[in-house]
């Protein structure tokens, strides 16, 4: 029930913000319809909102988060030092936010809820359904069901691939190349 309310609120929010904030602060969404991968429009909209509201949308935001939050309750605290360093070192951003990340340490060290919280920092919680995470609580199971169900709609997240600088996807073991990467290599 709570999730439905959140999604409904998010949809209403999108109507209000689309023409103003997204447009004026980040420029209009630059994904041409013909360039759009197989991503359901509703899912894309949800992802746009999640990314827009995410606290970390750039390397600068990340540095600020690490300065002020790490060791003080950041979701990233749940990763071991080695795993956190590897994960953070893998992040790629464009002007709209996160475009790709390394997933193996998340899968190895985090449960579903913990990974959800980490990915939510970047507005990338929508990729949760593609990960193979530990389920130890009821909330884990609920989250996995919620995000796993829509995973076919976010098939444009290319598992084990990396977006590279020649407008191509290349095999990249342990990487997820998110659908948003399409907009940054222009």
């Amino acid at each position: 029930m709570k999730w439905h309310l959140i999604l409904a609120a998010a949809a209403l929010f999108s109507i209000a913000c689309e023409a103003t904030e997204l447009g004026s602060r980040q420029g209009p969404a630059v994904i041409d319809a013909s360039m759009q991968p197989a991503l359901d429009a509703e899912v894309q909209r949800r992802r746009d909102i999640e990314q827009f509201l995410a606290p970390i949308k750039s390397e600068r935001d990340l540095a600020e988060h690490l300065d002020t939050q790490l060791g003080r309750g950041s979701p990233l605290d749940r990763l071991s030092t080695h795993a956190r360093t590897r994960f953070l070192g893998s992040l790629t951003f464009n002007e709209r936010g996160l475009t790709g990340y390394r997933y193996d340490d998340l899968e190895a060290e985090l449960g579903v809820s913990e990974a959800f919280q980490v990915l939510s920092l970047f507005g990338a919680q929508d990729t949760l359904g593609t990960l193979r995470l530990r389920q130890t609580t009821d909330r884990d199971a609920q989250l996995q069901a919620l995000y796993g169900k829509g995973s076919e709609a976010v098939a444009a997240d290319h598992f084990n691939y990396k977006c590279v600088s020649r407008a191509t996807c290349e095999f990249g073991n342990n990487f997820i190349c998110m659908s948003g990467c399409l907009t940054y290599i222009q």
């Binding site: 070192g89 893998s90 390394r102 098939a155 407008a167 191509t168 996807c169 095999f171 399409l182």
Partner: protein, 298 residues
């Protein structure tokens, strides 16, 4: 500048292994090194990338992977499994898949298997074209929820460029020689790659390109792609009139130097005469037309 970077990369591979050698290994540090090599190698040509990653794996993990696995803690075994997965993924060599499986079996015996382990194992079997192993593994691991298609070899022991074509509504894959004729366009693509999708959409919409590509192009998935025939059938439906098949072994296609998607290889009499890499927003129509002109019948 490039030479300097390359020298640094080889130094990392060689030097770090010396630094971590000793009676007690910190496999987290070893994994850091392997990940560092992987990251640094991403802008190297693919064969060199595979060589560097495999060398780092052998330096840091192979002795553990082929040693007394019972003496290794499960957390460390997991790192060895992940490292072997990386070596297998980039080299596509079966020896690393065998090492993965040895580690997997010990983790399974300890009940230390998570959802990601069987999935990685299956993907590695498929990528290394150990297809019967893959089928047996999938059957023995119902939690995967994967039913692989039947594999039928219509090409015998031939080593040339081979494809697995999707037949019987996705229930069968048939291995056969790629028909490159006197001229053809081989498009390395992936249904989940946004750039590949964009290329297919724009080419199909373009009146000049559509007919030529319908007649002459073969869209192929790299060996690293997981076999999912439903995905290919859906792609073919969305991108008619083009069809897509799986490459068998990439080593049977030595004329292809990059398996990034999409890449367009224009073949004339069995030789690549033109190559177009990637699909930016504005497309690459002029380059494609140039390639088509080069392979046009005289």
């Amino acid at each position: 500048m490039k030479t300097k970077r390359l020298a640094w990369l080889y130094a990392v591979v060689a030097g770090a292994s010396v630094a971590t050698a000793g009676p007690v290994r910190d496999l987290q540090k070893d994994y850091d090194v392997l990940v560092g090599v992987q990251t640094a190698a991403m802008d190297r040509p693919e064969p060199e990338r595979a060589t560097l990653i495999a060398a780092s794996y052998r330096e840091h993990f192979q002795a553990v992977a082929t040693g007394d696995l019972q003496a290794v803690a499960s957390a460390d075994l997991d790192l060895v499994f992940r490292a072997a997965t990386m070596a297998a993924g980039y080299t596509l060599e079966r020896a690393y898949v065998v090492q993965m499986k040895a580690v997997y079996d010990v983790l399974a015996a300890r009940n230390a298997i998570g959802g990601r382990h069987p999935q990685s194992m299956l993907e590695a079997f498929v990528a290394a074209r150990m297809l019967e192993d893959a089928r047996r593994f999938a059957q023995a691991t119902p939690s995967l929820g994967v039913t692989l298609p039947a594999f039928r070899d219509a090409a015998g022991g031939s080593d040339g460029p081979m494809l697995w074509s999707v037949q019987d509504q996705g229930r069968t894959l048939v291995r056969q020689a790629a028909d490159l004729g006197t001229s053809a366009v081989v498009v390395v693509a992936h249904p989940l790659c946004g750039f590949s999708q964009a290329a297919a959409v724009q080419i199909a919409r373009d009146e000049t390109l559509r007919g030529r590509f319908a007649q002459q192009s073969i869209w192929v998935l790299p060996q690293t792609a997981m076999i999912d025939t439903a995905q290919v059938l859906a792609w073919e439906k969305d991108h008619a009139p083009f069809s897509m098949a799986y490459v068998d072994r990439q080593r049977g296609w030595p004329m292809i130097d990059s398996w990034a998607t999409p890449t367009f290889y224009f073949f004339k009499d069995g030789r690549v005469v033109h190559e177009v890499v990637g699909w930016p927003q504005e497309g690459r129509k002029a380059e494609l037309l140039e390639g088509l002109a080069k392979i046009a019948a005289e």
